[in-house]
């Protein structure tokens, strides 16, 4: 079992619904401070976006964040170097597109992630069918390969993805890119499908915009991922304080439903 999964199972075991905010690396010059603020406010893990020029699973907010980050010169190396200066307990999970990894080299990338506290990676355009080299490299470096499950995934595929995913399973609440709508969509159905074949922690993402959504998701999922809502604030100029209070609001909402 990956150390990410061990950690996240521990969170679930503690009766806590996991909160996973998303921060695009390099979106601002003090982005690592934003990560710290999120953790300080109660994040159980943080998704770290590594920007890609053509993020096909992302809506306008995260696209914009990626463009700003790229314009500022962000690279895989620069992110890893900056993460090295971070001091947070919560595990970090990279989110990027395969070309960034492919170009860097899968083994080098897994190695670099491991040395920068990135304990997992979500690569939405890398399905398990294409992932063998990457999975091998991750396995050697204790980097969890996290897969998404979509509302359209048929049962056999849910089983396959549930088996392949590590750390947690990412249940997409809807057929849409990030930041699209604002409700829980098909989340419950996707989560249940996963539950029926696996006991890995299941987190819901895509469409979680408000603490209310989070509270509702907490009824059936092990965690929630909050991406565009947070990045939208940051694009509008929010600093650490605002980020901290935003994340804290989600934390409180989740805690209000947790069964300790």
């Amino acid at each position: 079992m990956t150390s990410l999964e061990t950690a996240l199972r521990r969170v679930r075991a503690s009766g806590r619904t996991a909160l996973v905010p998303y921060v695009m690396a390099g979106v601002t010059s003090d982005w690592t401070r934003l990560v710290e603020a999120a953790v300080h406010a109660g994040a159980d893990a943080v998704e770290i976006g590594l920007p890609f020029s053509d993020p096909i699973m992302d809506g306008v907010v995260i696209q914009e964040a990626a463009l700003r980050s790229l314009a500022a010169g962000t690279t895989l190396d620069s992110v890893c170097a900056e993460l090295a200066t971070l001091d947070v307990d919560a595990p970090l999970v990279a989110m990027t597109y395969y070309n960034v990894i492919h170009h860097y080299g899968v083994e080098r990338a897994a190695h670099a992630f491991a040395h920068s506290s990135l304990r997992g990676a979500i690569i939405p355009d890398l399905p398990p069918e294409e992932a063998a080299p990457w999975e091998r490299a991750c396995a050697q470096n204790d980097v969890a390969t996290v897969y998404l499950v979509a509302p359209s995934s048929p049962p056999a595929r849910v089983a396959r993805l549930a088996h392949a995913t590590q750390g947690f399973a990412y249940a997409a609440a809807r057929m849409a890119v990030t930041g699209s709508a604002s409700d829980l969509g098909d989340a419950r159905r996707v989560v249940n499908a996963l539950r029926s074949v696996s006991d890995i922690p299941v987190y819901v993402g895509i469409g979680i915009t408000t603490p209310d959504h989070a509270r509702e998701a907490a009824q059936f999922a092990d965690g929630v991922i909050v991406g565009s809502a947070l990045m939208s604030l940051v694009l509008d100029g929010a600093g650490t304080t605002r980020v901290e209070s935003f994340v804290r609001d989600f934390r409180r909402a989740l805690d209000s439903t947790s069964t300790p």
């Binding site: 895989l76 395969y98 070309n99 979509a150 048929p154």
Partner: protein
């Protein structure tokens, strides 16, 4: 060269190391469904007959192979042109969209979406959709909607909705991104009608198969004109669909296959392996794997990648990929117009430019050349005029 080139890809949609299916989970089922539906349709005689019917009765196939006598004399070659410019909507694009639109209909989808750069593929898709009574939405970079206002209106006349794409560089690459994003939301009733031999499996294979009618016809027509095997087969390459289509008729033989990219968008020349838009292929990218803009006077070649099968043919040395510069391209367009009364598309003029450059050099005098005349230049006339007059 005993390999069988241009057969089906492997199970995973790979041509050697290239191809595959790098798509978000939300699109995986659609790709699998499409794969199955296509495999089923391609062996179904009813489907074959409907497609053959639309191609001949609606799109005007077979297009002729024209002996270019005056150009041949100029170059001391025997040049023949496969006339995709005469296909309905003015280029080879219609071959592919009719195939996909009929397949979409067969799959029970009532809507198609497409990306477009300058608008050729968008117009073709809107055309096929109108013909079959399907709804149609075309994604087009905002920059391109402004450069190509008339093509936007053409699509609207055909009943399609054109969505200007404001993300990224607002051109073709971003239109593909946006079409994929849209597809995620509507896979159940919508088919993504991709415009070239690119994207996730089965698209590169399927689009090549739909375009291979070009090569099949041409091989037959050349034989009727007394040419058993042309020495050279040359086509321009954006994503690579017209080249793949014509190469398919000659890949098993000994013809020299040449794909001509725009010098500013040469995925084979300056690109490196990478993953974009669902496929592993050669891409133009920076040292960090960020995709770069292709740049060319010809909107149809402004794609930073190339179809995976071309990457494979290049790697195996079965086809060679070369480039043409903007100024040679303009000159070539003028030569073909004056010599033969055919104003080619700027894309096509890249292939002509290579021919003019290499005749008597790497192409021996007297050689037989098949030029794939992928499209007509009407769409480009205003631009060419401005370029010649030095207005842009």
């Amino acid at each position: 060269m005993t390999d069988l080139f241009m057969g089906p890809p492997d199970e995973r949609g790979r041509f050697g190391d290239f191809g595959g299916r790098f798509v978000p989970e939300a699109l995986m089922s659609a790709c699998l469904e499409l794969d199955e539906a296509y495999r089923d349709a391609r062996v179904d005689e009813t489907f074959a007959r409907s497609l053959e019917r639309e191609l001949s009765l609606f799109a005007g196939r077979p297009t002729p192979v024209t002996p270019l006598e005056r150009l041949s004399r100029r170059l001391d070659l025997r040049v023949f042109a496969k006339r995709e410019d005469l296909a309905h909507t003015g280029s080879h694009k219609i071959n592919n969209v009719l195939g996909q639109a009929l397949l979409a209909q067969r799959m029970g989808k009532h809507r198609v979406i497409a990306e477009t750069g300058a608008g050729q593929h968008g117009v073709a898709t809107a055309t096929a959709a109108a013909r079959l009574g399907l709804a149609c939405t075309v994604f087009m970079g905002e920059v391109d909607t402004k450069r190509q206002e008339l093509n936007v209106f053409r699509m609207e006349l055909l009943g399609a909705t054109v969505v200007p794409v404001t993300s990224g560089s607002r051109t073709l690459k971003d239109a593909v991104n946006e079409a994929l994003r849209e597809w995620v939301t509507c896979v159940a009733d919508t088919h993504y009608c991709i415009g070239s031999v690119m994207g996730p499996h089965p698209f590169p294979w399927m689009v090549r198969e739909f375009q291979s009618v070009i090569g099949r016809e041409a091989a037959h027509q050349l034989r009727e004109l007394g040419v058993e095997t042309p020495d050279v087969v040359v086509a321009c390459v954006g994503g690579g669909s017209n080249a793949a289509g014509v190469f398919a008729g000659f890949a098993e033989g000994t013809s020299r296959l040449v794909g001509v990219e725009a010098a500013g968008g040469s995925a084979v020349g300056v690109g490196s392996p990478g993953v974009l838009h669902g496929m592993r292929s050669l891409l133009i990218q920076d040292e960090f794997g960020q995709i770069e803009e292709a740049e060319s006077i010809s909107a149809g070649l402004d794609y930073p990648g190339i179809g995976p099968e071309h990457a494979y043919l290049a790697a195996r040395g079965r086809a060679e990929y070369v480039t043409a510069h903007d100024d040679e391209v303009i000159a070539a367009l003028q030569v073909l117009s004056e010599d033969e009364g055919i104003i080619p598309a700027l894309e096509t003029a890249h292939a002509v430019a290579w021919l003019l450059r290499e005749a008597g050099r790497s192409i021996a005098p007297g050689s037989t050349v098949l030029l794939n005349l992928s499209g007509r230049g009407d769409k480009d006339v205003a631009q060419v005029r401005a370029l010649i007059r030095g207005e842009s």
